[in-house]
């Protein structure tokens, strides 16, 4: 596989259940770097079962690359389950904190945007506002675009979290 093949292509969200143990995240990260796969975002947290962590990662590649990524992830001994989180069948959210310049005369306008996006002001100073927003890729991108003219000073994103729609869950049993 050429580097272009590996790094191009559409973005995909993959959920991985892993043992909640020391060193497991490093194994996942090493796998991606050793094999030249991209990680656009990654979030990790413990699940309802304290021995299991859930990693949600966003990567890019064509179907063949994606298949290898899925298989390689499954092959890790500490991986319990791997699932493709297809956009239409899942709920996907990311949280972002954004600090934007907000001199008094522009505040009203910013607050209006915040309201339309159902975002929240979480901190403010004489010159800035810090806003929290949760949403899917599209919403977050649109929000950033609207804030850009005011001067975005800093952002922090959590990486994506995703769950299947409906009653389906990711069981911690290897199929």
């Amino acid at each position: 596989m050429s580097p272009e093949e590996k790094n191009g292509g559409p973005s995909h969200t993959i959920a991985v259940l892993v043992e909640n143990k020391f060193g497991v995240l490093a194994k996942v990260a090493s796998l991606f770097s050793a094999r030249g796969y991209n990680i656009d975002s990654l979030s990790v947290g413990v699940t309802q079962d304290p021995t299991v962590s859930r990693i949600t990662l966003v990567t890019r590649g064509d179907e063949r690359v994606l298949e290898q990524i899925r298989k390689q992830l499954s092959k890790l001994i500490d991986t319990i389950k791997v699932m493709d989180m297809v956009k239409e069948e899942t709920v996907q959210r990311e949280m972002m904190l954004v600090k934007v310049s907000a001199p008094r005369r522009e505040r009203a306008e910013i607050l209006q945007i915040v309201e339309v996006f159902r975002a929240r002001i979480v901190d403010l100073s004489a010159e800035t506002l810090t806003i929290e927003i949760t949403g899917d890729d599209g919403k977050i991108a649109a929000f950033l675009e609207l804030l850009a003219p005011f001067g975005v000073k800093e952002i922090a994103r959590t990486g994506k979290a995703a769950l299947s729609r409906g009653p389906r869950t990711l069981k911690s049993v290897k199929s």
Binding site: V18, E19, F22, G23, A26, K27, S30, L31, A34, R64, E67, Q68, K71, Q72, S74, K75, L76, I77, D78, T79, I80, S172, V173, K174
Partner: protein
Amino acid sequence: MSTRAKRPIPIKSSKISGAEIIYRSLEREGVKYIFGHPGAILLTLLDLFLKRSQIRHILTRHEQCAAHMAEGYARASGTVGVCLVTSGPGATNLITGITDAYMDSIPIVCLTGQVSTAMVGNDAFQEADIVGMTRTVTKHSYLVKKTDDLPRVLQEAFYIARTGRPGPVLVDLPKDVILGEAAFEVPEEPDIRGYKPTTRGHPRQIERVAAAIAEAKQPILYVGGGAIHAEAHAELLKLAETADIPVTFTLLGAGSFPSAHELSLGMLGMHGTAYANYAVCECDLLLAVGARFDDRVTGKVSEFATRAKVVHIDIDPTAIGKNKQADIPVVGDARLVLHELNKLVKAQKRPLWRKRVEKLKADFPLLFDSQSSPIKPQEAILTLSQEAGDRAIITTEVGQHQMWAAQYYNFTFPRQFISSGGLGTMGFGFPAAIGAALARPEKLAIDIAGDGSFQMVMQELATAMQYGVPVKVFLLNNYSLGMVRQWQDLFMDRRFSEVGLEVSPDYVELRPAIRKMIETPGPFILDVVVDPDELVFPMVPAGAATKDMIVRDDRKRALSGKLSALPDN
């Protein structure tokens, strides 16, 4: 894999030391030899080797060789090889061996000493983050943090190393974990929720394979190292003979099918036989069994077996579709899958295809100019093969001699040929032969060596002498790094740079010398001075299609035209 319920068997309920747990775990796994090099962290464990005799510790002269010996032992015996080294430099010296085992799917367990858990991360004396350094070249690794975890971790390590696609597992053992105490309790079989390798092929897929075999006019079996790990040789022979399918094998598949069988095409790939490569170009069904479509085999992969429907039987789902798309993938153990397949495959004759293959064999045989002085390396191997035959287990180093060994030795049984394929590690063969000699004392372990490679690991002669291991070194001495020299010969206008290894030879006659080597008890080096200008052919230039291989030694053609450009690698 068994799904038996976890039933703890308390072997002894009172607490014992970590060192004792390690020793008993090794005993429980049936370990007979452990290859190692000590350090202070291991003292209490080493002490047990004085008191007990169930496990023999072989003191190697370099840790890399401990890993290669464990690999040779594993390859020859079909069981897990074990090595034990100290922290820091001991552990880092193992890395080449671990990587070699990873590339060739060899089951070894590497035990490394580590500084005490309280010191880990402090840049303590002889601390090295070996788990971090080997993360991408181990099948799995553990840093044990409590003595209580030791019994389970060691049991899992052996289990993971030998099941599924075999591979190296590293267990890092901090000093306080070795010194601490815990109860030695383990379940009968480990139960690892994230590790359930698929061994039985899907019945529908197997039916599809049987149908494809029945339909095919020109099928080929392409057999790799997985057939040997799976012990699938009997099923393979049955399938080939029943359905009349010619067989070609990879470097690591050599021995899975008798080289001299009428259906055998020998090795395929970069230095495979021309007839194997041409037959693969022409086949309409390619049955890959435990082989991973390595670039040394396929050449330019987009032109590999383009007319063929591809069946890929492999225990590792990641191997399937990685380099070549499979039309019928079958995930499972090669022996179990072929066993099921054989129940469905009907006897068939393919006279036209067989005739075509015979013609390819007749038109493009393996060739060299026989002469007595200097000795031709091919001649040396043919003579060795005649004299040592199936008494021998052959290991090799890496280079031209390795390719000639694969081409000219007549392999008759699985695990007879042990070579470093994926990593191509010079210095593999001699320590591997020591491991193989210990694993199979009834056989004669012979390292077909190159002078360059042997000089990387010569210190292990001391190990062989100390333990009286009767290994033979059949040194094909061309006073050069022949394989690199060959590329300079073909692609750099014969500008030979940094490939000469000049020392002065002693001449003796070949056949009587081979006999003397075989008959002399104990370690023996036979220095066979061979023609340094001899090149390995056939050769598929790197990145070229297999159909464009250079069939014979025709240097003029090689130097002109498209081959004068230096290939990628």
